[in-house]
Symmetry: D2
Subunit: 350 residues, 4 copies
């Protein structure tokens, strides 16, 4: 295992050797696309069980990455691994990867919750590596930038939590809103992954919108684990995700009651100021359409007041800012690269 | 003007002569399609300024209605008129139509609000016929069936209010929920009408979802005018509509806090019972996809509890139950026809 | 087995008892929807392996058919069965159904080709009931109306052949075009059926168009078996189907060279005249959009000449005129009902 | 006017100053997006009548280009201008731009046809600058690379011709196919531009496919002007474009009869070989879905033989390889940059 500071210093001037495990699911594919074009990265290993042995460019439509897909979880000699695997798989392997000197960016939910008990409650399985929870840093860069600079195990946030947290944490932390939050979120169908099933069958999902997971969705626990430390008072959260007939894009519409006597402009100003400082946050004067962030790592925000309620809308590309892009943004911070390296800050309309 | 009771008695055994004014907008087209196939109706007049003089079947794709489109607002000898016109137009003509003995089903917002002052506040114009407000009956059949039996001026509800009110009034009337309501609604693009503009341009609206009208939408006033009488306490309503990339379909996701000490099952039971009694309400055990009501006059409902919050989802076809179908349902009640005559209670999947 | 003439005479004045086998695939669903609303039919049996034992209205979104789904292939006492089953299944059962006195409308390819040898060539299996080929009548009503009046075994055409044959047979039979035909067809995704797979996964099929089956598609053999008898000379046919990101709708664009010295207007007139005579054919002055026939049993046609080439476009709803609706149209002819009974001749725009 | 060789030599090591005229239409937007991220370009001027005076990033959703939009056609001091203007506008201004030392990449049809007479025939107006035809080079890089190295006036090909010509010229030039060509093309709706109209209204275009321009489309003339010189014999071309419900993407399905006695493999090999040599051509073993090229400058090709007919399918992103990307590819060639500079050779799936 290399000395961590050495690794980091070296990396900023050199190129990282990177691997993607689970490279033929939608999040893995997006990791591969972005890493292959990243100016500071050599993508050297792609792993994928179902396509092992084939050239990546033949296995994934539109790709020009000409590497043979490997099987198993052996990375070879790499500096960083992006793990886009079903839950528990990366957790079971993370210690070995860390011991071999790799920084681990886990795209699954394995290290997003507070601890192993919470994990077991929501995922119904014993966590394979509870000792790693204290080492993991939640990869929402805008909120955890400092801790990420020295992290080796990064838990990339889920797509819904990314949008919901960016939309709520500024207000929650300010204490200017009541900590009773409703998040009504709308996601494109790619958020459900690449495994065929009736619910994502074209003819069933097209020309239709529906709510799901109303009784309780795992991403609500992830949101709460970040919201609670941000609020002095108890947080109440209602979260309802919806499936919308589009491939990519996620919109969170968040409802928070403005505190008594609070000037609504003061709350809105928090978001405007944050967006000014952050390279991937954009404040729009009207509610952002999800199309305006597709392909980019941008989260676009708008605050509008209706009566005593603050309505924050936050739009992201669920596979970029909501997954792979955010992981790469965290990598950029971790290794001292330009934070925007290899990531788009603009989207091509239409 | 015919004697009203005579008209009604006669109509139940004979066929009505019907007209559609504004017949080449989306709501007008749906009125024409449904009336042309209605077992108790002869569609004799279709009016439309932009296509006047052409055969309707040539002006509207897919139609087989072989009538020449008329200009102006002169109906000829009809028993009922469906007015799908820009606001203020039908209001300006309604008295003349009523005087000529026609029942008026107005698809615009002209008679939906409480009075002319409220109308002026939201639409920014003086109401052309304030004296008719007391004569108008709000055409949400499930809530106003008795008054509709003797009405001559029916204000067909807006698409958003239809879904929102069916989803909220049962709980509000029961007093089992707090009258603090959030309605997050998602509509297909046909709800914006047939006039081309950038916001409904295919390449702009496709593959995108966005909120609009957050600072204040006219349909909120319409909802409140029906919610207030239904609640003993003051009603607070937050309403945010969204545009979703599909042609038809509207989903309202409604959030209401269940009262302290109230059994959530008791609230849900109200909706199940109502759906059992009503020919066009359907209770689904999981949140209804909008596709499951397309082309039908059905509103599909689900209630799911998350923590202390009741989440009601209501799905309709915005052009049928949310407009033309509801108007015809009201006509059926008014003239003593079978309430389901000429309306579908099922949808063809997919 | 009832006497056939008796059955037919009785049926015209009474109601048919009908069954649908394979009722929870897309074609079976459309059969159920249409039969449930047919004025001369009582739908008494629905069979479906995967949903057996459940109420149909619970198994299929949006349906209000309140019958318990049966398993197996036993129909009970019915006058007609619509078989929407995988190929070879209906063929294996057809004799038994016929012996029990039922008219069989087979929605599969089992009886569409000329004989068992041709079937084996294209489907790679031995035909289970070769003796029935001579009894089967191809259910393209516009071309086979007379033979259908006395048929007991009706082979409902495939969706691509329906559009392609309506677009080509009039010209081919006239001898005014060269029998060298190119059919470039575009289908909505529901044509691929309800079984989930990667190629019909929403995120893969959405926002994309592609050709498939270019080297040879089974529907080409079906087309040829009908085109050959229609032409005095040898027929050459190139057929390429495409998948388009929409749920329903099928457009065939057909290219035929006009014969030397032939007046193009004379060819076009054939199509206009045919459309005047046929209740479900519509001639449009410009190429029909598929949306203009959705939900109806109409095939809309246009002929336009470009240079020496006649371009015929034919639009259908693949699940109605391209499948279930056409089967019911054949049933109407077979039993002497009004040919349009239970079928829409118009579509609701948009 | 600078000396051309000097300009070119300098540019290869320095950065170009670029302008986009017509920057808020879809093609202009795509030019801006690509040029703003191009490693050898400084985008200094964006012109657009309807948004003049606003910051570009406020006028165009998702853009981060922070330049004030200018009005008129005055470019300032630039080395190259991309003109995405209505036809005749760029032609009227081109001489002035050339005189001021700018290389002109015209995205309109003004310089694509053979001469001013042909232009007048198809566009119905007198060409404003007939003297420039001999100076213009058709910007289909794969076919005109050498001439482009010294061109100052580049006519970027239309979207349909790009796909159709890449799919046909290799075979035509070889003489191995008969010069009787059918091009059946399918385009996403963005190809129709950004001006709202009923035909591109979401609710009209969604869930529908239709042919248009069957009697004669201007792009046919453009195709023929390139095909004729490629064939020893007379060329016959039938071209039918279709509108498909997707934002981007264009598929050309091309039918050509293989010459008597010709080995089909020999024809296919021409395409495989060409794709091996060209950085933006990709040969797929099965027909390419348009989604596999979205956002990239790639044209993906497949050849499949059906009977005696060669079916070539070619997929492009209509706004990239079919417009802006191709213009930038030509610029790269013209100024000696890496041909792939600023252009994607891969697409992010899904």
């Amino acid at each position: 295992m290399q000395d961590r500071d050495t690794l980091r210093r070296v990396a900023a001037t050199q190129r990282l050797r990177a691997a993607v495990a689970g490279s033929t699911g939608y999040i893995g594919m997006q990791c591969v696309t972005l890493l292959a074009a990243h100016p500071n990265v050599d993508l050297v290993t792609v792993l994928g069980h179902s396509t092992a042995g084939r050239r990546y460019s033949e296995a994934v439509p539109g790709s020009d990455v000409d590497i043979v897909v490997g099987d198993g979880l052996d990375l070879g000699d790499v500096d960083i691994v992006f793990a886009a695997l079903p839950h528990t798989v990366a957790a079971g392997q993370a210690q070995a990867w860390l011991d071999a000197g790799a920084v681990v960016v886990d795209m699954s939910a394995d290290f997003r919750l507070a601890d192993a008990a919470e994990y077991q409650r929501w995922y119904g399985v014993t966590h394979p590596a509870p000792q790693l929870f204290e080492r993991a840093v939640y990869g929402l860069v805008e909120m955890e930038r400092d801790r990420l600079r020295s992290s080796d195990l990064i838990a990339a946030p889920g797509c819904y939590p990314t949008a919901a947290l960016i939309a709520t944490l500024p207000a929650l932390r300010s204490g200017l809103v009541e900590p009773r939050i409703i998040v009504d979120a709308k996601s494109g169908v790619s958020g459900a992954g690449r495994s065929p099933s009736l619910s994502v069958h074209f003819a069933e999902a097209n020309e239709s919108v529906r709510a799901y997971g109303v009784a309780g969705h795992r991403h609500r626990a992830e949101m709460l684990s970040q919201m609670r430390p941000a609020s002095a008072a108890d947080v109440s959260l209602t979260f309802v995700p919806h499936l919308v007939p589009m491939t990519r894009g996620l919109l969170a519409t968040v409802y928070m009651r403005i505190g008594d006597g609070v000037d609504a402009e003061a709350v809105t100003a928090l978001y405007r100021d944050l967006c000014c400082r952050e390279p991937f946050l954009r404040y729009d004067e009207s509610p952002p359409p999800t199309k305006s962030v597709l392909g980019s790592n941008v989260a676009a925000l708008n605050c509008t007041v209706q009566g005593d309620t603050l309505v924050v809308t936050a739009a992201i590309d669920n596979l970029v800012k909501g997954a792979a892009g955010q992981g790469i943004q965290a990598m950029n911070v971790r290794f001292g690269f330009a934070e925007t390296a290899g990531l788009a800050t603009a989207s091509a309309w239409p």
